[in-house]
Amino acid sequence: MNRLTEFMLPPAKSTTAGEVDALFHFINVTSIILLAGITFTIIYFAWKYRRRSEDDVTPVITHNSKLEITWSVIPLILVMIVFGWGLSGYMNLTTAPDDAYEVRVVAKSWLWEFHYQNGHVSVNELHVPVDRPVKLVMSSDDVIHSFFVPDYRIKRDVLPNRYTSVWFEAIETGESIIHCTEYCGRAHSDMNATVFVHTQEDFETWLESADAIDEDMPPAERGEALVTRSGCMACHSTDGSRMVGPTFQGLWMAERTMEDGEVVTADENYIRESILEPNARINEGYDPVMPSYQGTLSDRQIDDIIEYIKTLD
C-alpha cells in the first residue's frame, strides 16, 4: 500500500498534503473495489448467460424497486462523504493562517518573480523557511498563469487583473518544483521554478545576503549565474540555437536588423534597453513577448550580464 502511495503521488512535503492524499486514496480504493465488482459482473454474466441457442427465452424483469433504491442510495452516500471530505480539505487549503510569511509573486510570460518583504527579488527561485506558513499573493503581468507545487498539493491561477493567493507550510528542508499549469503560450512548459526550503536561520541569512554581491567572483561569472537564475535561459540560448528569443552567442557588438528595418549594433545601451524595455525594439523575425526586468535587476546586475554576454563569442 505504501509503495502504491509513493508511486501514485509525489512526496508530501506540506502540512496540508496528508489530508489530500488520504482522500485521494480513499476514492481510489473505493473506486477500484467497485470497478472490480462491475468488471467481474460483466465477465461473469457474459459467460454464464451466453447464448446457447437462437430460441433462448429470457425472463421479463422490468424493474426491481428495492435493488434500484439500493444502488442509488449507496453511491449517493459515498459521494456525499467524498464531497464533505473534499470541502473540508479545500477550506484548509484556501484559508491561510494569520501569521503567515507573505511573499509577492509576479508571473510573466514565461518566468516567476518572487518579491520578498525586504525588497529583494528572486527570479524562478522561491526561498522559504521550514515549519512556517507562507502566503503567496500573486498576480500576472500578461495572460493567465497557474502556480502549482505538486509536492505541496497546491495550485492557484494567477490572473492579470486581480490578486489571488495560496498558502503552504513546508515540513522539511529541500527543493520542490513549481510548474505553470495554465497554458500561456510558446514556452509554457519551460515556465518552471524551484522552491528552496531552508531552516529559519538559513532563510534569514539567505535573505540578508541575497542582494550582496560576491566581489570575489569575476563579473562575467556573476553574470552567468544571473542569467541562469533570472529565467533568461527559457528563451535565449548561449550556443547559437534559435529559441523564442535571439541567442546570446555572438551577440556582443553584432549588427542586428529590427522589425522596422533599422540596423542596430548590440552595444551596452542596446542590451540594457533590451532588458529594461524589451519591446522598444524587436529583432526581425521574433515576437514582442519578453517581459520587462525593470525593478527586477539592478544596474549593477545588468552590467554583470553584459560582461557575461561579451564572453560568448
Partner: protein, 579 residues
C-alpha cells in the same frame, strides 16, 4: 401536444408486413449521382454525409494525436518545435470536439436512425436538415482556412486574455466554430420536433426506444447551451476585431467571465457528447441480451436528469481560477449529483444482462468495452469533482486521461458499437465479425496503454499542454505513445474490414440481430421512405417475450402513391391503443 394517437382509443385494422429481404430498390439507389447526394433531403443520406465527414475529421484529429504522442517520446524537442506543438494540440482538441464528437452520434447516427425508430418517413424539417449539414461544412471551411493562414495556438478552450493577444488566427477559427454551432442548434430543433410530432401510430412516450430518449435529452442541451457558446465566441471575435473589452483585462475586462461563459456551454457540451452514447448502449445491450431492458424509466429519465443538472455544474472547471469558496462548494456538490444518474445507468445495463441470452458480437463487445472504460472515466470524475483533490489534479495529465476515458472510452466506443450495430441497416452488408472482434481488442489494449499511464503521471504532477517535461515522466509518456500506436493499428484494421464490407460484404438480412426494435422491421438497406407501410406499434421496443409478428404490424399507405408490395403472411389483427 396533440399527437395523432393521443386523441381517443381507436380500433384500427392492421396487417403484418414482413420486411423484404435483399430489396432491389432502396434508399441508396433511389437517386443516383453526386448532385443527388449533395442535394438530398433524405435523412439517411444526410446521416451518411455526416458519417463521412466525421470519419474524415476523426482521421485528421487522430493523426494530430499521433504527432503529439511521437513528439512526447523525449522530454525535450524531438522533431517539431513548441509553436507547432501548441498548434497541433489545439487543433487536435478543437477538431475532435467540435467537428467529430459533437456531431458524431447525434448528427451522423442520429440522423440515420431517429426517423426509422419513430416509424417516420423523415425528420420534421428535411430541408433544414440538409441546411444544417451545409452550415457544418461552411464552418469547417472557415476553420480549415484558419489553419492554413496562421493556425491557432490557444488550446480548444480559447481562454482570454491569451486568445485576444496571440498572433495566430483566432478570429477565423472561432468564427468557424460559431457557424458550426448553428448546425448543432438546427439539428437539435429538428430532432425535438420530430420526436414530438412524427411518431408512428401507437408509439407512445413509454414505448420510445431509449436511443430516442437519449437523442431527445441531447437535443435539449444542444438547443439550450449552444447559443451561449455562440454569443461567447461572438464576443471573443468582437474582442479581437474591435477590442470591446469585456474579456480582456488590458482594456478593463474580466478573463474569468470568459471562463464562466465558455464553460456554461462547454460543460453541457460534454453531455452532448456522451448522452447519445448512452442511448446506443441501451439499444445494443438489450438486443444482444435478447431481453427486456431493466429499468426503462430509470434510464430514460436519468438521461434527462443528466441533461438538466449538467447545466448547473460548469463552475467545477474553475475551482482554482479564483471563484469564491461558496461557488466552488455549490458546483462541487452539484457535480456529485450528476454522478448518481450515471451510476444508475451502469447498474441498469448490468441488470439487463442478468439471465439474458448474451451474444458477444462486435457491437456488444464494444458496449462491454464502453461499460468498463466509461466506469473508469466516471470514477476519476468523482476524484476531480472533489474540491481538495482537484486542486492538486487540476490541469494535469489526470484531467487529460479522465477526459479521454469519458470521451474516447465512452463516446467513441458507443459510436463504434452503434456503427457496427446499424451497419447492416445502412449498407445492407455484413462486415467480418472476426476482424471486428480483433480490432476491438486491439483498440481496447491500446487505449488503456495510452491513457492509464497518464493517470499516474498526472497524479505525480505532470501538467497538461507541456511541450517539454521533466525526465521522471519519460517512461509514462513512452508507454502512452506506444498505446496510441497500437490503437492506430486497431483503427487501420477497422478501416480495412469496413471497406471490404462495402465492396464485397455478404448481404445482410433485414434483421440480422433478431432485434425487436422498429428500425429492424424494414428491409436492409432501408427503403427510400423508410417503411413501405405505416408501422403501428403495440409493444415496447424491448419486449422480447412477445412474438416477432407483433412487431411487424402496419397499415397500408393511402397517400403518395407508394405501393406496398409483397404482402406475405396476411394476418389481420385489431390493435387497441391508449394515449
Amino acid at each position: 401536444m396533440s399527437t395523432p394517437e393521443a386523441s381517443t382509443t381507436k380500433k384500427v385494422q392492421v396487417r403484418r408486413y414482413k420486411p423484404e429481404e435483399n430489396p432491389k430498390e432502396h434508399y441508396l439507389n433511389a437517386e443516383k449521382g453526386v448532385w443527388a447526394w449533395m442535394t438530398t433531403i433524405d435523412h439517411k443520406k444526410i446521416g451518411l454525409l455526416y458519417l463521412g465527414s466525421i470519419t474524415f475529421f476523426f482521421f485528421v484529429g487522430g493523426m494530430l494525436a499521433l504527432l503529439l504522442r511521437t513528439e512526447l517520446l523525449t522530454p525535450a524537442q524531438s522533431f517539431i518545435d513548441a509553436d507547432v506543438y501548441n498548434q497541433v494540440f489545439t487543433l487536435h482538441g478543437a477538431i475532435m470536439i467540435f467537428f467529430f464528437l459533437v456531431p458524431s452520434v447525434p448528427a451522423a447516427l442520429g440522423n440515420f436512425i431517429l426517423p426509422l425508430q419513430l416509424g417516420a418517413k423523415d425528420v420534421a424539417f428535411p430541408r433544414l436538415n440538409l441546411a444544417s449539414f451545409y452550415i457544418y461544412t461552411i464552418g469547417t471551411i472557415f476553420t480549415l482556412i484558419a489553419i492554413f493562414t496562421g493556425g491557432i495556438d490557444t488550446g480548444w478552450t480559447f481562454y482570454t486574455p491569451y486568445s485576444t493577444q496571440t498572433g495566430t488566427n483566432v478570429l477565423l477559427m472561432t468564427f468557424g466554430i460559431f457557424i458550426l454551432g448553428f448546425s448543432s442548434i438546427l439539428t437539435g430543433v429538428n430532432f425535438i420536433v420530430t420526436i414530438h410530432k412524427l411518431r408512428a401510430p401507437g408509439l407512445t412516450w413509454n414505448k420510445l426506444p431509449l436511443n430516442v430518449w437519449a437523442l431527445y435529452a441531447t437535443s435539449i442541451i444542444q438547443v439550450l447551451a449552444t447559443p451561449v457558446l455562440a454569443i461567447t465566441l461572438l464576443l471573443l471575435v468582437m474582442e479581437r476585431a474591435l477590442g470591446i473589452g469585456v474579456f480582456d483585462p488590458s482594456i478593463g475586462g474580466d478573463p474569468v467571465l470568459f471562463q464562466h461563459f465558455f464553460w456554461f456551454y462547454s460543460h453541457p457540451a460534454v453531455y452532448i457528447m456522451i448522452v447519445p452514447g448512452f442511448g446506443v448502449i441501451s439499444e445494443v445491450i438489450s438486443t444482444f441480451s435478447r431481453k427486456v431492458i431493466f429499468g426503462y424509466w430509470a434510464i430514460a429519465l436519468s438521461s434527462l436528469a443528466i441533461a438538466f443538472i449538467g447545466f448547473l455544474v460548469w463552475g467545477h472547471h474553475m475551482f482554482v481560477a479564483g471563484q469564491s469558496s461558496l461557488a466552488s462548494m455549490v458546483f462541487s456538490f452539484l457535480t456529485f449529483l450528476v454522478g448518481i444518474p450515471t451510476g444508475i445507468k451502469i447498474f441498469n445495463w448490468l441488470a439487463t444482462m442478468y439471465k439474458g441470452s448474451i451474444d458477444m458480437k462486435a457491437p456488444m463487445l464494444y458496449a462491454m468495452v464502453f461499460l468498463f472504460l466509461f466506469t473508469i472515466g466516471g470514477f476519476t470524475g468523482i476524484m476531480l469533482g472533489s474540491l481538495a483533490v482537484d486542486i492538486h489534479l487540476h490541469d494535469t495529465y489526470y484531467v487529460v486521461a479522465h477526459f479521454h476515458y469519458v470521451m474516447m472510452g465512452g463516446m467513441v466506443m458507443a459510436l463504434l458499437a452503434g456503427l457496427h450495430y446499424w451497419w447492416p441497416k445502412m449498407f445492407g452488408k455484413m462486415y467480418s465479425e472476426f476482424f471486428a472482434r480483433i480490432s476491438c481488442v486491439i483498440i481496447f489494449i491500446g487505449f488503456n496503454l495510452a491513457f492509464l499511464p497518464q493517470f499516474v503521471m498526472g497524479s505525480q504532477g505532470m501538467p497538461r499542454r507541456y511541450f517539454n517535461y521533466i525526465d521522471q515522466y519519460q517512461a509514462f509518456h513512452q508507454l502512452s505513445t506506444i498505446g496510441a500506436y497500437i490503437m492506430a493499428v486497431g483503427f487501420v484494421i477497422m478501416a480495412g474490414y469496413m471497406i471490404h464490407s462495402l465492396l464485397r460484404g455478404k448481404p445482410a438480412s433485414a434483421n440480422p440481430w433478431g432485434s425487436r426494435a422498429m428500425e429492424w422491421q424494414t428491409s436492409s438497406p432501408a427503403p427510400h421512405h423508410n417503411f413501405e407501410h405505416i408501422p403501428v406499434i403495440i409493444n415496447g421496443p424491448y419486449d422480447y417475450h412477445k412474438p416477432m409478428s407483433e412487431f411487424q404490424l402496419g397499415i397500408a399507405h393511402s397517400t403518395n402513391g407508394h405501393q406496398s408490395f409483397e404482402k406475405v403472411d396476411v394476418n389481420v389483427k385489431s390493435a387497441e391503443e391508449k394515449a
